[in-house]
């Protein structure tokens, strides 16, 4: 079961944004699997996508459409990723956008398509086309949670959060949803995340803000190291709150940006808390590096080590595995006698070996918790990075061995 996560109670509507949901029967029976976001004219939309070379057809098309026109609709389906599908997959993505454009009366390039689910199977445009009228009729500002549920695949819980911030006597609202549980090591954005605000943000600034927020959220999590073919994160600024930002220097922008980052971080951590088979929520905090990149490299090496992950699952303070992972992370000229490692507040390693004061009982007490922080100080600089990950359980194997059956 998810670690320290529950269903969102309520998500705040964003003026200028409506969601319409439908059941298209793409893979799952008896559940919604199609979500349509309508964006009012005049809004700005920023997006980041997976860096996987085999990016899915909808990712390629969404990139093209985003550059060609202002975005009016996001069309999202779960159950089929439309990835590894070659030219027929591109046609399916394009035909889906065209079908929606017909229904709503916009241009095809004003639609961004998104897909998540099984890779390598052709997606039925027919099923999507048939469900579009239902989704269109359903458009409502209050459908955020319903949308969060429609885009789930192996997720156990829907993921969403809202924040409000007062700026100059006015209120800006930010709401976001995300899905993702496995094949999670976003290298640009996580599986799928949609965030909107009613603030007015100049498009280039919005893109910079999204990139920054993604770096501190979706690009700092990993379940299994598998960067997906379909990762995407979209940030919409509808501009209907009467608050406008044209540059980083504008009054209130710092607070606003912090709130956006907070929303993305919440969603990214929610994906980890609901990671496939997760029984632990792990923070890996690497400091004392000569660069942030080096800190991230160490953090990811520890986070991806199956031996560290299985020890975390077993609540076993087998810190030697952490030490071995740090040692193989490829940090040039690492002085092992400068490295220290803490489990929670318990120092386990210093001077290249076990801390003399360390006791197994102290390590065990930390490992018994559901939420664990591993702190690693490389002792060679002032850079720092933090990432979040899960343990590796029987259920991870079960979920992924049985996914298609």
């Amino acid at each position: 079961m998810p670690v320290g996560l529950s269903e969102p109670e309520a998500l705040l509507p964003i003026a200028g944004v409506r969601w319409g949901i439908a059941a298209a029967g793409i893979k799952y029976a008896d559940r919604n699997d199609l979500a349509l976001m309508e964006i009012a004219p005049g809004a700005a939309t920023a997006a980041v996508y997976t860096r996987n070379a085999f990016c899915a057809a909808p990712v390629t098309l969404a990139r093209q459409h985003g550059e060609a026109a202002a975005t009016r609709y996001l069309l999202i389906n779960s159950g089929n990723a439309n990835a590894g599908t070659g030219e027929p997959g591109m046609m399916a993505a394009l035909d889906s956008c065209a079908a929606l454009a017909d229904v709503v009366g916009c241009k095809t390039e004003e639609v961004l398509p998104f897909s998540t689910g099984v890779i390598g199977e052709l997606m039925s445009v027919e099923k999507i086309r048939n469900a579009l009228p239902q989704a269109y009729a359903d458009l409502s500002a209050g459908n955020w949670l319903k949308a969060a549920r429609a885009i789930m695949t192996t997720d156990i819980l829907a993921k969403g959060v809202s924040r409000q911030i007062e700026i100059g006597g006015k209120t800006a609202t930010i709401s976001g949803i995300a899905k993702g549980s496995g094949m999670i090591r976003p290298d640009m954005a996580t599986m799928l995340a949609y965030v909107a605000t009613d603030a007015d943000v100049e498009p280039a600034l919005l893109q910079r803000l999204l990139q920054q927020a993604v770096d501190y959220s979706f690009n700092s999590i990993t379940v299994d190291g598998d960067t997906s073919t379909n990762d995407a994160c979209v940030l919409v600024a509808s501009g209907q709150a009467g608050i406008a930002f044209a540059s980083e220097a504008d009054a209130g922008y710092g607070e606003f940006a912090a709130a956006v980052i907070e929303v993305l971080q919440f969603l990214a951590q929610a994906i980890i808390r609901d990671g496939e088979g997760a029984t632990k929520f792990i923070t890996i905090d690497v400091s004392g590096g000569s660069s942030k990149a080096e800190c991230r490299q160490v953090a990811y090496t520890v986070a991806h080590s199956p031996l560290v992950k299985t020890a975390l699952f077993a609540s076993d303070p087998n810190w030697g595995r952490i030490l071995a992972a740090v040692g193989r992370a490829g940090v040039e000229g690492l002085g092992v006698d400068k490295v220290s490692i803490h489990l929670g507040d318990v120092r386990i390693v210093c001077d290249g070996g076990r801390d003399a004061s360390y006791t197994e009982a102290a390590g065990q007490a930390v490992m018994d918790e559901e939420e664990i922080t591993i702190r690693i100080d490389l002792g060679r600089g002032s850079a720092r990075a933090q990432i979040w990950t899960t343990d590796l359980s029987y259920d991870y194997v079960k979920i992924n061995a049985e996914y298609r059956s």
Copy 2:
């Protein structure tokens, strides 16, 4: 159970090399855990060690001793890795060598120490010292298989092989043993491997041969991506067969080198066949790369993907996961429409998508096998690399979640 591997039936003695075995009670009760290799004067010894920055105390000491003197004894224990043990660990390794030097009457630096087992716990020199007389009294040319069993940790089967080759009417014999099952992604050599021949090989040539053989064997396997702190591989040439090699150009050297590589490859593959929880033996063959390094990078990315590994465990031809792993392997400028992927002889991907002639039944037939080859052609050059790995099963998690309990 190990995949396509059985206990070695007999291992051929090597003139000039004897093994002595004892039960020191380091961690395991009622089994041998100490192995002593005696090397006759005049032999050449080459060794390669882990590149893990946190290398174990015995690795540091073995490197120093190997440079300081001709090696006369290898002292190997299982049950405790003497890694992450700082200065006390160095003292323990040194004291063990000194204790053996006392018993056999050699210099301390003529002894190379090796340890494998739990990381981060201090090793008892007392237990080793007490068992040395028993090991010394046991020295015999016929003890290769007994040694293979004594160095095991989570291995299910002992691993060893012998080869003979005729050169100029004389016979050179090569015997080797290895241990290893988890924390396997050697970045120099695997956990522990000991190979000896009765040929006479000039020391610098012997070291080059070992490096070459390791590249094609222990540096081409992975179970879990975790490079150990204790990896070591030793190659001894006793020179007692009347066959001598001073350079690569010598008559018969090519055949001899091929036989040595074959022995190391057998041992490396045996480690994979006995990989923790392994139910499949997987060959990943990447061709068409612009460099060997790039081919290895792709092969290891596929081999380390938990999603690919769980699909292999489930015998699920979920090739989309292979494609996603290739796509995120970080190959600069990869043309995805040039990539093809075969499962065994079945082509599943070409032109960036599923081969039109591919059927799930054909993929399933390959996946149902115990031994599976995944062939990936990057379509951008003529370099090639091959590595071997396992699937990821419930038992892998079980073994590693319960290792210390």
